[in-house]
Symmetry: C2
Amino acid sequence: MARRFVQPDGQKSFTSPNAWDGHKVLSPLAVALPRLPPIAGVRLGAAAAGIRYQGRVDLVMAELAPGTTVAGVFTQNRCPGAPVDWCRAALSGGQARALVVNAGNANVFTGAAGRAATAATAGQAAALIGCAAHEVFLASTGVIGEMLPYHRITAALPALHAKLAADAWSDAAHGIMTTDTFAKGATRTASLGGVPVRISGFAKGSGMIAPDMATMLCFVFTDALLPAASLQTMLRAGVQGSFNRTTVDSDTSTSDTVLLFATGLAGNPPDADPADFATALNSLLLDLALQVVRDGEGARKFIRIDVTGAVDDASAGRVALAVANSPLVKTAIAGEDANWGRIVMAVGKAGEPADRDLLSVAVGGIWMARRGGVVPGYDEAPVVAHMQGSDIRIEIDLGLGVGSGIAWTCDLTHGYIDINGSYRS
Amino acid sequence: MARRFVQPDGQKSFTSPNAWDGHKVLSPLAVALPRLPPIAGVRLGAAAAGIRYQGRVDLVMAELAPGTTVAGVFTQNRCPGAPVDWCRAALSGGQARALVVNAGNANVFTGAAGRAATAATAGQAAALIGCAAHEVFLASTGVIGEMLPYHRITAALPALHAKLAADAWSDAAHGIMTTDTFAKGATRTASLGGVPVRISGFAKGSGMIAPDMATMLCFVFTDALLPAASLQTMLRAGVQGSFNRTTVDSDTSTSDTVLLFATGLAGNPPDADPADFATALNSLLLDLALQVVRDGEGARKFIRIDVTGAVDDASAGRVALAVANSPLVKTAIAGEDANWGRIVMAVGKAGEPADRDLLSVAVGGIWMARRGGVVPGYDEAPVVAHMQGSDIRIEIDLGLGVGSGIAWTCDLTHGYIDINGSYRS
């Protein structure tokens, strides 16, 4: 099973010193990193700071033009990392001049020392740029409960800052990876008051945690001129329809962070209708979220679950996520078994309004069960063929109302156990 | 990995025609079935009715003395099987004369035909015994969404009824098994108003569902004289402290059923204080619940999680179950990795009051993290040794209040994937 690890975008393969990396195989669901063109007011770069491993790129910095506005959405975990606390506080200012991200150490469960590390890192970046510390945003990913050796970050930042460039998007997208098997990025254009603007972003994530508390991070940049409050509203809605509709293993990380920076250099009128921008942002966030699912630990199948007929949309969404989080549904799909009995079980365990005798289930577009019972003599051949593919589609009609919702997930395979529970015996 | 399947109680090994049974291996956490002595007013038996497979024991019956009272607790799944509906309705009478259980078909998602099957089965048993149909209790376990061939049950019941015996407890305990790797039983004595009474029970379960919707069933019998209302109160409390504190894979079955029958033939005074009985019942239910965990699909480690310092007991219980249900905690334990970072993550994702900086975590009795940070230089050797054992103990102190709670689970291994996602490719 140990294959050479090669990026789908043709980049040089790299060797990670993680213990299980000998088994690290490019996800069969991987997609290529698109070219992310420059965005006015954004310069980026990556460096190897030796935070956990020597010679591994583990530090990413972005400098943002003066006047950049910012929005953020963070983990709901009650034990968040120090960088999450830092960003939440900094967000009240609504202004950003820099982003500093490190891999190798999550700075979680590190107490006062963890808070000191965030202050020192932000202070160093602010000094290099000439801004206030609360205009510097931070994220960390990697091992939990160990002190972040932030002096290695502050030692590496001056040289990194000196080489920031407008076209280093691929470096940055690769630099935040931990257990990811491919770099994840997306870019869109939109029109704001007749002026074209660009939105680009990159993300990491491969299961909520693996193997040492790697987490989901996502950073989005635009040259649009938009006030922080408007950005925040659009980002929250966009995350609700993307990252909040996906799951790999139901475990919520302590470091989930989505940040959106707007440099304002596109020249759009400040009072433009943001509808087209919001549409493009939603599309970009969903693209990135689904790339994370496609890199789910051990994933071999990409699964979409559509629920209709619920009492309302929120209820439909919860039913879809209950199915997406069911280990028995996910293992059945791994085994290419269209086991709609397990789907019925998962619908029932969601705790949402459901009537067994009104429930219908389709797999691959074929309705196998209708209104509480199996469809006699349904055509099994296309269902079997569908289950052998890599993109699986489940539809559930609750038959109660007009609420609808979607969830995306991946299957649960031996690869997940390999990655997260390497046997010592 | 395919080992010969032998019961720990020395019974003859049996061959099940389930597709994955070639890989079925006795759980390394198995315990022997104790001898379950006769209980006045209870006669049992088991037979092969050919419900799904030929020659496999798949039908269990118990006849209960006139005057037997009954209590029941059922699945919270919103899509329960027809037998669950039947029992819920029958329970209102408070009286029981018979129990009929089949394996091989769960009679779930079978609509009107499923309801007809329960009525026919109960009617046949009632005719054999000479009681009302609503004094017959039913449970079914096995494949979902297929019509229960109840005519095979009604055809087999007369011969089975004719051979019921007071000492056939082992036959009954084995007869309800599906994917279980060992039969599960327990017995206790208690004093009711100075009169000794006996409680015995048997259960099945090995994960909520595997591979075709097998489920948790538990049947308990006593010769005590107790009114149905009192039984119901004690059973509900006992299940709360036992089955409701255990999880294998977080999937809630459509058929979970716990029934308690009291024949009233022990001769105890009707107004006796039931405290000692309740204590014995709680002990028996916990014994059976933990046997189900020990037969969890693919389980190699038995895990107990103690949460203290919560704002109240209910909150502590929810935190304990969040840790018990975390795939990342369970895979870490499978890998013998005392990964307390994942434990912190799982505490935080529970959504209960928790303060990262007050949190302490112990594994195997060694406190690795105290009040929000790793304990520098804690003695790792006993932790490593503990993780290599089969009984794992996690303690979590939230540091907020005096609420406490417990959960039990098993690890998540390749065995779980093998059982639930047999790869066709």
